[in-house]
């Protein structure tokens, strides 16, 4: 938790802002690693999915490890044209969860998918409260962000689409430290405000913006000082909580700063209602819009997006014509679909296929941005993760993860790797490597090092 104790002075913050916001490539940021040959930074996108898959409709079919020679079945078929731009990592196991004494059914592991250490169970006198099972350390995006430091104004952009507001082990998978989860931003409007400091496309160049930023910074500076002195007399646990709050205020202070947005294309968000299930596709599209535009002008290099909760029970695929009463639960929601007995479930196929189309949409969007001799997709590494393998059994093994993009020359794409139950940390540590963060410092070392075959 040492990062909470770093005192970031206002002066340093402002200096950091001026230096980093606009310039790409970042010629003066020699300490920034994770860069490609052209000097463009590497970005990482971590996507969290739930409810597993049906193996024969998801895994590559055919012999060998050359993905470009294999066919992709119904669920993953949309990826066919991009087989050379991704690597399919099959049969992973979330050992940091299955090693947990008395681990239960596969909803609990949601919280420790990206932490690489055993989940942390807090003794609970009354488990209704939801056996409080939380990530036992920082998630991989936060670990990478700690390494990158203040190279961009926003350390991490943590987004969600219809993730439950209530914080519990089925709704939080991003952690700054043990037990300290990050609430995803479900509202693209808020994500937009985070990235573009509340600047609408029409506002660019308005001199009032700098004054508003100065006002907010003065106030947040005072709030930060209050938090520091307030924390100092508290007991350990309370102090950690308040110092985490302090860290958040320091980050906010940096975000609201009057930074130069001239390199940014400020998107106009479409209309959508985050309360409405039917708007799910629009919300996701808007979130990706914010994310890609944030990358384009280097507002951040690290983004995560949680696609519904760790159970999907608040999502009905009405736009695919899937609705009505459930087979096992009250309504034909994503969770009900996952539990459907039998292997020939057209609803499950349609839902997973739709998700793959969204991954393709993100890849295409990144690929449409030229960077040096390639595209932004070449300078991005996308992790498509699922905390379940077999959706019906909610298993924590047979996990099919996908890595896409070039990782600025790091990732060897076009492969199908069958990992035979290897721990997921191999992938998470590879992300660290791709971003220039020391992989040996991430996760529990008993779960192994980065998977060598992923390196180009």
């Amino acid at each position: 938790m040492s990062h909470f104790h770093q005192k970031i002075s206002r002066r340093n913050l402002l200096r950091g802002l001026g230096a980093s916001a606009a310039l790409i490539p970042l010629l003066d940021q020699t300490e920034a690693r994770g860069e490609g040959d052209d000097g463009f930074p590497c970005r990482v996108v971590v996507i969290m999915k739930t409810n597993g898959v049906i193996r024969q409709h998801f895994y590559p079919q055919g012999e060998g490890t050359d993905l470009t020679q294999l066919s992709l079945p119904a669920m993953t078929e949309p990826l066919m044209p991009y087989r050379d731009r991704l690597t399919f990592v099959g049969d992973l196991e979330m050992r940091n969860f299955t090693d947990y004494p008395g681990y239960g059914a596969g909803h609990e592991n949601y919280s420790c998918t990206f932490t690489g250490v055993r989940g942390h169970e807090i003794p609970n006198p009354e488990p209704t409260a939801g056996a409080r099972f939380t990530g036992g350390g920082p998630s991989v995006d936060q670990y990478i962000a700690q390494h990158l430091g203040d190279v961009t104004p926003i350390r991490t952009l943590n987004l969600g689409v219809r993730v439950e507001e209530k914080a519990w082990y089925q709704s939080r998978c991003i952690y700054t430290a043990a037990d300290q989860w990050v609430t995803p931003q479900n509202d693209p409007r808020q994500a937009f405000d985070t990235v573009f400091a509340g600047v609408d496309p029409d506002d660019v160049g308005d001199p009032g913006l700098a004054l508003r930023a100065a006002r907010r910074q003065s106030i947040l500076d005072r709030v930060g000082l209050d938090l520091e002195s307030f924390a100092s007399r508290l007991g350990r646990d309370d102090r950690d909580k308040v110092l985490a709050h302090l860290q958040s205020v320091r980050e906010l202070e940096q975000q609201v700063g009057a930074s130069d947005l001239s390199a940014c294309t400020i998107p106009t968000l479409g209309e959508h209602d985050i309360e409405q299930n039917d708007d799910y596709p629009k919300i996701l599209e808007a979130q990706l819009d914010v994310m890609v535009n944030a990358f384009k002008c280097d507002r951040t290099r690290v983004a995560t997006i949680q696609l519904t909760n760790g159970n999907g029970s608040n999502t009905v695929f009405s736009w695919l014509g899937i609705s009505g009463p459930g087979q096992e639960f009250g309504i034909r929601d994503y969770h009900d679909i996952a539990h459907r007995p039998g292997d020939m479930d057209q609803d499950k196929i349609a839902a997973e296929r739709w998700y793959m189309e969204q991954l393709v949409a993100l890849m295409e969007r990144l690929d449409s941005v030229p960077e040096g001799s390639g595209t932004m997709l070449d300078n991005t590494i996308i992790l498509w993760a699922n905390h379940m393998g077999n959706g019906g059994a909610h298993s924590s093994n047979e996990l099919p993860w996908i890595l896409a993009g070039g990782g600025a020359g790091y990732l060897k794409t076009g492969q199908y790797l069958s990992m035979g139950g290897a721990p997921t940390n191999g992938v998470l540590r590879a992300l660290c490597e791709a971003m220039g963060a020391d992989p040996s410092g991430f996760g529990d070392p008993v779960y192994g090092d980065a998977i060598a075959a992923l390196r180009a």
Binding site: G104, T128, E165, S218, D226, S229, D238, H245, E328, A393
Partner: protein, 565 residues
């Protein structure tokens, strides 16, 4: 004799009327009562700290509470003196390990939401608020007015007097913000307001300012300002009122009599509705009932409006029992064949709509008994089209019986599709035949079956799929096995069970303390339960007993905490 008088009499008869009700734990510490403390005299000498009533092994740590969303809304409204309504996102809450909602750690997103909220609140303060009025900048001077505002607003927002250095720092902010952001006086006041609403002194409940807590022999006796806030946030979900602030200033919140008098006064205030609402919605896990989605083909009546009425009914009923014309008892809460309904609910219940919506309405006593047979509870813990006995039973087991369940098995086997025409109960009984499932389901399903007369929206039914409803079962309770034909028969036995009564007292204790009970609370909890019992299980007396217990106002030092000896 009105019910309040009767209650007080009962309690005091039971405990002996002289010298307050709590002779067993006479707690009359020697605060220097009468001396007012305006907070800036810097007199922190140990002389004005009372001897604790507890031994060091009888006190537990109190976690630092952060205002929940519910508390934040009410606090901002009360600070403003007018409803503060906003559709802005509020900082996130989480369900704590004690089973009730608590303020979550503040992430960057939360900090941003709080900033937006503070800006919206400050805009309200600017436009002709009484908070600004007593000072005219043109005659008194702008900086002087800013200083007065900081002192006056701070007293209420921070729930204590500000130290001189705090006032100075905030006035400096006023001046700096005006200079760097080119603000006028009102905007400068707004900037200061925003800083105070985002301050930890506002957001966290620990009303000590820059001072360390005072320890006496391993025990920290809460400062009067902290006691005032504990009372107001428990009973009103908000800051203290002027009377409570005055009592804190006069150090008149120390003896059990003083606390009891405040608690009774506060229970009679309409703001106590907030506590009763908040507790019952959280306890029964029905906070989300108003947005629950039902299958409209199966239940055309299940509109958003109906779901909203369900929540309102349960709020009104709980208030009626505890704060209104009800008798205040747990028995009434769990067994009354009465509820407070509007026309939509009357149709669901099959009774005539009352002339005034949400007024007491008699229900069929063979169909309904208390809060657990109300649609809010029944519909919240059901599916969209079908009842869900496992879920209802699990909630009852945990919330009403305080019985924890073992974690679910490693791999939940694929469920067998139900047979055509099978009832919900038959489906669940089939499922529980699987050895991997039986362990938990045999603990929770029978309790849930007791509610099988109620469909997914809480309507009463005699049959399902042409088969008569079987709501019978048995339950191990108080060392006996109880057999019942339905919840209507079970409810009075639950209300009469020592186990259930203890569990309800425990749930209120957790809610009031903001944490789970610990061994160190045993003295307090025994005292609380005895008082509850002696009052005939009157829930108002339970609240009074909790706030006068040592656990409520004495704590252990936190690990690593800086203290004054």
């Amino acid at each position: 004799m009105n019910s309040n008088t009767r209650r007080t009499l009962l309690l005091c008869l039971a405990l002996g009327a002289q010298g307050g009700c709590y002779q067993g734990l006479a707690y009359t510490p020697d605060w220097d009562s009468g001396a007012t403390d305006d907070g800036d005299d810097g007199d922190d000498s140990a002389d004005d700290v009372p001897e604790p009533v507890s031994e060091a092994d009888e006190v537990a740590e109190m976690p630092l509470p952060r205002l929940t969303r519910h508390e934040l809304r009410h606090t901002l409204t009360d600070l403003l003196g007018a409803p503060f309504e906003t559709d802005l996102a509020l900082p996130s809450d989480a369900r704590g390990i004690h089973g009730f909602i608590e303020g979550d750690a503040v992430s960057t997103v939360d900090a941003r939401n709080l900033m937006n909220l503070a800006e919206a609140f400050a805009a309200e303060v600017k436009t002709g608020s009484p908070l600004l009025e007593p000072c005219d900048p043109s005659t008194t001077g702008e900086v002087e007015c800013a200083e007065r505002f900081v002192e006056r607003f701070g007293r209420r927002a921070y729930r204590r007097h500000l130290e001189p250095e705090e006032v100075t720092a905030l006035v400096s902010l006023y001046e700096d913000a005006r200079a760097v952001a080119e603000l006028d006086h009102d905007e400068g006041i707004a900037a200061v307001t925003e800083a105070m609403v985002q301050s930890p002194h506002f957001l966290y409940r620990r009303e000590l300012g820059p001072r360390a807590a005072q320890e006496v022999e391993g025990v920290v006796v809460l400062d009067p300002d902290e006691v005032a806030s504990r009372l107001s946030y428990l009973l009103w979900s908000s800051l203290p009122d002027d009377a409570l602030f005055a009592a804190a200033d006069a150090r008149a919140l120390a003896s059990s009599e003083q606390l009891e008098a405040q608690a009774r006064r506060m229970l009679d205030d309409p703001r106590a509705d907030r506590m009763v609402d908040d507790f019952h919605l959280q306890w029964l896990d029905i906070e989300e009932i108003s947005t629950a989605v039902k299958d409209v083909d199966a239940f055309p009546a299940a509109t958003e409006e109906l779901m909203g009425s369900m929540e309102e009914e349960t709020r009104r009923f709980a208030r009626w029992v505890m704060l209104g014309d009800g008798d205040g008892t747990l028995e009434q809460l769990l067994t009354a064949p009465t509820s407070l309904v509007d026309a939509r609910l009357a149709a669901l219940y099959g009774v005539d709509a009352p002339a005034q919506p949400f007024t007491p309405t008699a229900l069929d006593p063979s169909e309904r008994a208390g809060i657990l047979t109300q649609p809010a509870f029944l519909a919240r813990h059901a599916g969209t089209a079908l009842s869900n006995p496992a879920r209802r039973g699990k909630t009852l087991s945990e919330r009403l019986l305080c019985r924890a369940l073992p974690p679910p098995p490693d791999d939940i086997p694929a469920l067998v599709p139900p047979e055509e025409g099978a009832t919900t109960r038959q489906q669940f009984e089939q499922h529980a035949l699987d050895p991997a499932c039986r362990g938990c389901h045999q603990l929770i399903d029978p309790l849930g079956f007791s509610l099988e007369h109620y469909d997914a929206i809480g309507g009463y039914r005699q049959q399902e799929q042409g088969t008569p409803i079987d709501a019978s079962g048995s339950l191990d309770l108080d060392g006996d096995t109880l057999s019942f034909s339905s919840m209507v028969e079970l409810a009075p036995r639950l209300a009469g069970s020592a186990h259930v009564r203890e569990c309800v007292a425990t749930q209120w204790f957790r809610y009031a303390m903001g944490r789970a009970e610990l061994d160190a609370d045993q003295t307090s909890r025994t005292m609380i339960y005895e008082t509850f019992e002696d009052s005939g299980f009157d829930l108002r007396e339970l609240i009074v007993a909790i706030v006068t217990s040592p656990s409520f106002r004495e704590r252990a030092p936190s690990e690593g905490e800086e203290l004054r000896q």
